[in-house]
């Protein structure tokens, strides 16, 4: 296998090809309104465990979705078959569904033509990467672990997709998006260490650096202590912070807010977290996975969501936005959480300035326990340590936590600059590492 020049035939659906298909759909549709959506992707994942490849896959999947509306009756059909006959048949199915649907009082016609930003959604090096490049990175991670006599389990993935939205209103959007990911769990007997990355560019995965981090965590975990459950000062690495924030971001839905079925109901313009925290959407940020447009064909926008700890924005569907007279719907495709005021540059500095705390690499299986106050539960995972007098002194057995981000992010002792964070359960965010006080660990597990 060569490490470059992966064959990408057949080509993904280009802008011109999507325009041709969209015109075909619009020509055959008899609806008052018609919306066409494209997602065409070539993706591959090399997965390893016990220091060898256990899965190695490459999938090309193209999907075309058509929504047809008559008045306020609408129906959607989709297909993975892009031949002319199948496309026409998809239009016919969407039409048939729409004819048989009841009126939807919240239906809105597709958006009018829009102007879009052009965020950096694609990188040529990722588009060109194929199985050989993924294998190269997997080999690098496995090799480092073998040298240390440790076990490596993880993935290297890369994908390229073309995404499009077009409508009978003249709306048209199309862009290419690439995505590359690496994650690694290093096993040292019972102990594990973890690291992960996601980026538009496969060159930015920093496989060697993250492998060394995971190795060091696993090796530190060989001596493990059991501490009792209780309230502790914690240092959360960016991935752990991202886990808690992802749950908070899910509660920003405006319709739930207005119906009173959100933990944030009534809190717009009110402080919800420490006043030093600001949450922004930054679609053009090179290290985030911003996109140019939404599934509705609306442009993504840079926007503030939490300013000086106060909730300033909600996540609107088009209908609720219209009712509220909101013309430009803010998006949250590229979230960045940052702190103002004094901060420390790195996690290392955060540890150095801590007298006693539990250092958490990552959380796992975070779930909402109580949607009214946003109490969450979850487990620490793959590197949980006791910090004393500015240094890690031992690993500790993993804890279960019960906390609400609406409470715990009001107990911030210190934070770093924002850093890239991704977990297996969250999208990518930029967030600081943080020291939080009185964090509630409710029970301990066996390892």
């Amino acid at each position: 296998m060569s490490t470059t020049g992966h064959k990408t035939w057949p080509k993904l659906t280009s802008r011109e090809e999507f325009r041709f298909i969209a015109e075909l759909v619009l020509k055959h549709s008899t609806g008052d309104h018609t919306l066409v959506s494209l997602h065409d992707q070539q993706s591959g994942t090399t997965r390893f465990a016990n220091n060898q490849i256990v899965q190695n896959v490459d999938t090309r999947r193209g999907s075309l979705s058509v929504t047809v509306a008559f008045g306020r009756r609408h129906g959607t059909a989709s297909t993975t078959d892009f031949t002319a006959g199948a496309v026409q048949e998809t239009v016919a199915r969407a039409t048939q569904i729409a004819h048989l649907s009841p009126d939807d009082p919240e239906y809105l016609p597709p958006a009018e033509p829009q102007q879009y930003l052009t965020p950096p959604t694609t990188r040529a090096e990722t588009a060109a990467a194929g199985p050989a490049r993924r294998l190269e990175y997997a080999n690098e991670a496995i090799g480092q672990c073998r040298i240390e006599n440790l076990g490596a389990a993880g993935i290297v993935s890369s994908s390229i997709a073309t995404v499009g939205v077009a409508a009978s209103t003249g709306l048209f959007a199309h862009e290419e998006r690439t995505d590359a990911r690496f994650s690694l769990t290093v096993q040292a007997g019972e102990a594990t260490g973890w690291g992960a990355a996601a980026h538009r560019s496969i060159d930015h995965l920093r496989v060697q650096e993250r492998t060394l981090t995971a190795i060091n965590k696993a090796k530190r975990g060989l001596e493990v202590r059991e501490l009792p459950p209780g309230r502790y000062t914690v240092i959360l690495e960016p991935a752990a912070v991202a886990g808690l924030w992802s749950s908070l971001l899910w509660t920003l839905d405006a319709k739930s807010y207005e119906k009173g079925t959100s933990a944030l109901s009534g809190k717009l313009s009110q402080p919800i977290v420490d006043k030093r925290l600001t949450l922004r959407n930054l679609p053009a940020h090179e290290d985030l996975l911003g996109i140019g447009f939404t599934a509705d064909g609306l442009p993504t926008v840079a926007s503030d969501w939490i300013a000086e700890g106060a909730l300033t924005q909600l996540s609107y569907d088009r209908f609720t936005a219209k009712v509220r007279g909101i013309d430009t719907i803010p998006t949250l495709d590229a979230p960045c959480l940052s702190g103002t005021g004094p901060s420390l540059p790195t996690l290392h500095e955060l540890i150095k300035h801590t007298e006693r705390a539990i250092l958490v690499t990552n959380f796992w299986y975070i779930r909402t326990v109580n949607p009214t106050d946003l109490t969450l539960t979850g487990m620490t995972r793959d590197g949980t340590f006791l910090v004393e007098n500015g240094a890690i002194v031992s690993a500790v057995k993993n804890f279960r936590f019960h906390e609400s981000p609406l409470q715990v992010f009001n107990r911030i002792a210190a934070f770093t600059h924002p850093a890239e964070a991704i977990t297996s359960e969250t999208g990518k965010l930029l967030v600081p590492a943080m020291t939080l006080l009185n964090f509630n660990f409710s029970s301990v597990t066996r390892f």
Binding site: M1, W9, T45, R47, F48, A49, N50, N51, Q52, I53, Q55, N56, D58, T59, R60, R61, G62, H74, G75, T76, A77, T79, T80, D81, F82, I97, L100, S101, D104, E106, P131, L135, A138, N139, I142, G151, A153, I155, S157, T185, Q187, G260, Y365, R367, V369, N370, T372, T375, T377, G378, M379, R381, N398, H402, Q407, S443, V444, T445, R446, F447
Partner: protein, 485 residues
């Protein structure tokens, strides 16, 4: 493409695989149709029919796997995808330490069709939307209800599996589900109560027999009762769990740890490993003698009862836990030989043509006992009766778990009394199952399951059913589900 064309495509692809010198290869061609009708707050929010067609080719070359797939179903695409799968397998082989050796399986030629009384795709759409709208209207008649949802879902999978060993299997499979819920608001709090049919492999008769309209007033009334109910005082309680609730408890605390690929470390980077390590098989006390957990992928209508898995292995029945002792794993042809088993248990499944099959939880169910539900309740002085699914979380080796539920009632002096809210219980898996001291009889048995079981990288959704009768557990740690509890 017609089935005839599918045969041509399979032949072209597998000829290529055989010519490469690979020791094994298979192809799955799949045509899936999914209809989803989603109701929200007294309106039909969306009706979507998804057609998903494609094929995936798996190649075992010099003891290492490669897999490639495409949604372009053509005789021109087949050789490209076959060659890519071969190329990828050769790359995997360059890092091989322990070669994959597949457990033997007889060659099968068969056709599997889901039995149905009413084809869900033939039922008039107007009837389905009318049912959902009327259900939501019934829910909203209850004062205090502020939101509702009601949904119907149906899926048909037409599949062809062909292997280089000579197996050729055709499938025409159905699955159906419906649900609705009600959300009540009171004193700044909100709470939901839901009604779900199980996901089962049958026709629309599942929905008709569920009688949404008869259930809607009860669900709405209980949502209001729930939001107004008192919170629980934390402490040790006896629990009586209903079959729907138990399906999730079994899934997380027994199903996942019994997947052999997890025990062998394959999932260490994502779903996790298992506390049921291989040396424990046959000796480890998983639960009390009342606990018999049986995998049965042959029971009609259950989700994993597909006749054959995606290794082409015939579905089987076997013990996971017998008289409280852990005795068996869910396996595929790759991992079964690693623990000395000569045949796979037939639990290798992929969630689409574009995904590679991985070990999946079987239809693991709790065998019925001899008690009635009333008898289980009668012997509880201070306990909680739990119905349905709520919050759930468990560590990556499946020891420390926590479960909520959909509805909770106090059991006081042997009787189910008032509703309570925000109940969660937690424990360590073998201790929890060790506290089981009674299982209700077969007349209480229900079959709930999941189509959203997350596992694998890239992530896949697994389907399985977990039948159970009510069961009682003693002295379980219960906490209130509020911040800081």
């Amino acid at each position: 493409m017609s089935l005839l064309d599918w045969n041509d495509l399979a032949e072209v692809a597998l000829k290529r695989v055989v010519a490469s010198g690979a020791e094994y290869g298979d192809i799955r061609l799949l045509d899936s149709t999914t209809q989803t009708i989603r109701g929200e707050d007294r309106r039909i929010a969306s009706i979507r029919e998804t057609q998903d067609r494609g094929f995936g080719i798996r190649v075992l070359y010099h003891g290492a796997w490669g897999f490639a797939a495409s949604s372009v179903l053509s005789l021109e695409e087949a050789p490209r995808v076959a060659d890519l799968a071969i190329e990828i397998a050769k790359g995997s082989a360059s890092l091989v330490i322990q070669k994959v050796k597949l457990a033997d399986e007889p060659v099968h030629r068969d056709r599997i069709v889901t039995a149905q009384r009413i084809d869900p795709f033939a039922v008039a759409l107007e009837n389905k939307t009318a049912l959902l709208l009327e259900t939501m209207e019934y829910v909203h008649r209850q004062p205090g209800i502020v939101r509702s949802s009601a949904n119907l879902w149906a899926r048909r999978d037409r599949k062809l599996f062909v292997s280089t060993e000579g197996s050729r299997l055709e499938f025409d499979l159905l699955a159906v589900n419906g649900d609705f819920d009600a959300t009540a608001l009171h004193d700044g709090r909100f709470a939901s109560r839901s009604f779900n049919t199980p996901h089962l492999r049958m026709g629309y008769e599942l929905i008709e027999d569920a009688n949404f309209l008869a259930e809607a007033p009860r669900i709405a009334s209980q949502a209001v009762e729930k939001v107004k109910a008192a919170t629980i005082e934390p402490g040790l309680y006896d629990l009586v769990l209903d079959p729907e609730h138990l399906s999730l408890t079994m899934h997380e605390s027994c199903g996942h740890p019994s997947e052999l690929d997890r025990a062998l470390g394959y999932e260490a980077n994502y779903a996790g490993t298992s506390f049921l390590t291989t040396e424990k098989r046959g000796a480890f006390r998983y639960g009390s003698p009342h606990v018999n957990l049986v995998a049965d992928n042959r029971e009609p209508e259950t989700l994993a009862a597909t006749g054959y898995d995606d290794d082409g292995v015939a579905c089987q029945q076997w013990d996971i836990v017998r008289d409280g002792i852990f005795v068996g794993y869910c396996t595929n042809r790759e991992v079964a030989p690693k623990i000395g088993e000569t045949r796979s248990r037939g639990s290798n499944r992929a969630d689409s043509w574009g995904s590679v099959p991985i070990v999946r939880i079987a239809n693991i169910g709790l065998e019925p006992g001899t008690a009635t539900l009333d008898e289980l309740l009668a012997d509880v002085k201070r306990g909680i009766y739990i119905e349905g699914h709520g919050s759930y979380s468990i560590d990556q080796r499946r020891y420390n778990f926590q479960f909520g539920g959909d509805a909770f009632w106090m059991i006081e002096n042997g009787k189910r009394t008032r509703m309570v809210r925000d109940v969660v219980y937690h424990g360590i898996t073998p201790e929890f199952w060790g506290s089981c001291d009674g299982v209700a009889d077969r007349s209480h048995r229900r079959r709930y399951g999941f189509i959203t079981c997350g596992k694998g990288q890239p992530g896949q959704s697994g389907w399985m059913t977990h039948p159970a009768s009510h069961a009682r557990f003693r002295n379980v740690h219960v906490i209130g589900g509020q911040a800081g509890s």
